[in-house]
Chain length 427, copies 2
């Protein structure tokens, strides 16, 4: 029965029982963590053979004969460009392979905008009175933080079931101060949403007032399907941009952070020839080249997209039970109570839980006191402000399945407590 339909006395009794259970669980001294979007140790083991891909007796030559041990090839070695292009369904010629962090590439691209601007604009954004970035929310806190750190104004738009509210985005880009929009188009962080075909087409058709407006398309979870037999399918943005003739409007990113090693993988960006040329020019002042040895190691370990897909099935086999543990617990403990809703993502690293308005902070605090760490309430919104105080990001990947289940049970208990408290307070 839904809490809001329960009699006051019954609900008070329910809360009393929940609190008693909470006290006893808190005494158990859990130390559990659902806050970290990190692969677990078992996932890291999957890529250990890569450490044998290059040994002291191997030639360290790229397929074009280039010695990966010396300076050169700012754009990356051909086989790594092809690998990352395959993951992004892009043309290798439009791909630049970077270092160990796609976040760093995104930061660099914002920085290049701030300092120098982009083709089609009027120079560095630092000269503008105001710069705004569109932030579909809930979204990835590190994206929002980059833009905020540059002093830009963050403009939230709602994430809907098919991606960002495109009516709002189309309206906002009429403002010449709007220079960018952050997107995680597949298995979005944290909502798990994959942008619908219509959303991608409307993105590709945007008519921004700013000629140097860019879509920052972080395709971090391009091959990160939880159920490889029924993956979400994302419409290819570069193809759609070619149709609208607006190829220069997007900068596309990905990495192997959650394919091989977080912080030890390779990253890539894909863009139109005009953008790639612009980025290469600016990067040529910043560095001589990225780490080609690690590119070669990756390309040997994952020679083609088929190898990547086989590898990702092993990740899925580890991750799917953890996601199922959370989702089953949410369903069994919260289903039918009318106190929370959540998504069942087909991939990515997160489950997005919406509790009753005004309850997220309370839930996170209750969990913390009982030894379960969650991502801070509000973290998925610009400036950390969720005006509904409802969204909680759950990251079930790092903990063991047993820990995940225990943490989910305690979480559900806290969600019910906070909901019952709120419902009673309103009577």
């Amino acid at each position: 029965m839904k809490y809001r339909e329960m009699e006051k006395d019954a609900l008070a009794a329910e809360l009393s029982g929940l609190n008693a259970k909470y006290v006893s669980l808190r005494e158990a001294g859990f130390k559990l963590d659902l806050s970290r979007g990190k692969p677990g140790a078992d996932q890291l083991e999957l890529s250990m053979p890569m450490f044998d891909a290059l040994g002291s007796s191997d030639a360290m030559l790229a397929e074009n004969g280039f010695d990966c041990r010396n300076y050169g090839l700012l754009e990356g070695i051909p086989e790594a460009r092809r690998l990352m292009a395959d993951i992004l369904e892009a043309d290798p010629e439009e791909v630049l392979v970077g270092g160990n962090s796609s976040l760093n590439l995104m930061h660099d691209c914002v920085s290049i905008g701030f300092i120098h601007g982009y083709p089609g604009g009027n120079g560095g954004w630092h000269k503008a009175d105001k710069v705004k970035f569109i932030c579909p929310a809930p979204g990835y806190d590190r994206h929002f933080s980059i833009a905020e750190h540059f002093g830009f104004e963050l403009v939230a738009v709602p994430m809907l079931s098919g991606g960002p509210d495109m009516d709002a985005v189309e309206q906002l880009v009429r403002d010449p101060a709007v220079k960018g929009v952050w997107c995680v188009p597949k298995y979005s962080n944290p909502s798990g949403v994959t942008f619908s075909d219509e959303t991608v087409r409307r993105m590709a058709g945007l008519s921004p007032a700013a000629g140097d407006f860019r879509i920052f398309w972080d395709n971090a979870y391009a091959v990160h399907d939880l159920y490889p037999e029924k993956p979400d399918v994302l419409l290819n943005l570069p193809d759609e941009l070619k149709k609208t003739g607006k190829q220069d409007m997007a900068l596309i990113f990905t990495s192997t952070a959650k394919i091989t090693f977080p912080g030890g993988g390779i990253s890539a960006m894909c863009a139109s020839p005009a953008n790639i040329s612009w980025l290469k020019k600016h990067y040529s002042y910043q560095t001589i080249c990225f780490d080609k040895i690690n590119m070669l190691r990756h390309a040997k370990f994952l020679p083609d997209l088929a190898a990547v897909k086989e590898h990702m099935k092993k990740h899925a086999a580890i991750l799917a039970p953890k996601f199922a543990a959370v989702l089953n617990t949410l369903e069994s403990e919260l289903g039918g109570l009318g106190v929370a809703s959540w998504n069942s993502p087909n991939g990515g690293y997160f489950i997005s839980l919406d509790v009753m308005d005004g309850c997220a902070k309370r839930v996170v605090a209750l969990c913390k006191d009982a030894g379960v760490t969650l991502t801070g309430a509000g973290a998925t919104f610009p400036y950390g402000i969720d005006r509904h105080d409802a969204n909680i990001r759950l990251a079930p990947t790092f903990a063991t399945p047993d820990e995940v289940e225990k943490a989910a049970e305690l979480l559900c208990l806290c969600v019910r407590i906070a909901a019952a408290e709120k419902e009673l307070a309103g009577r």
Copy 2:
């Protein structure tokens, strides 16, 4: 006999003979290169055992137990911080280990200044009407290019035998627009100069008008002695800064690019606690961490400074004969003619050759026509302008000893031709 003391007819005969030799050598169709400050393939072989330092059966744990395969530790793993601190004679707590490129760290540090400024200043330098950087010249073109790319004004000061002209530097920093000075303090690129104790002390005692003025101290060749038994000794800047109480005034950089692999090594920066805290704060928006796996690989291969020094002796054994080939040829072909001067560095990657004023471009062009590529004349000066048109940077490391000798012979011939031409034109 010096060219300027030769009779006109004798000098004309000399030039005629030189030209005949040049024509015959040009026909030999050389393809030689003294332009690239890159290690040769034989040097790269020295670090090949590093590829066996980490295999699939190894635990990938740092000495503090941290899993190097996952996110975290923005400042780097302890053993890599210690290694880089030992190379820099610094405190590991004041060292941050970066990615594959110290140039990128330097660029980031300039970028942080441009966007946010530094403690002691008035915010981002982009808000200032004018920003100036002091460029001791001849110097490293990539340093100068970074500052120029940010729109800063480059102010050249002469490199003297003990380092930059400190009278000029002390005078210039009275200008609040001066925010930085570039330094390669040991085996400077290209002059091979190691800053004298007095220079280091005067650097540490600078009293800049700008509170956020920083010394960009690129100690790229800290352990790169050509003759390990008689290395240049650089006074330790952090120690001197502690004496003057101006610890925040310097940002110090190095990398293993020319210890292990260019573009495949690890980099580091060293700074005061206030600067490190400032840099870490800004880096935390840019990336989650640098590549700890490559740090671990380096720390296993080079566990301490003694291992580094042994390793660098092997580099020296390869490089010293190449430097000797150039220097011996310069001495035998140009000695006593009064047409050129050069240094005999005890380390680093370059020999700096000064030909007669107005002759550098001519020499580089003559060499090019005969198949010997040199660094462009002027490249070692701000804006690429050597107003004496005299300096040529020679990089003898990448070619084989035989190639180096052939190239040096042809170079000397071209220096003599240009000098004789000039001398005759003035009669």
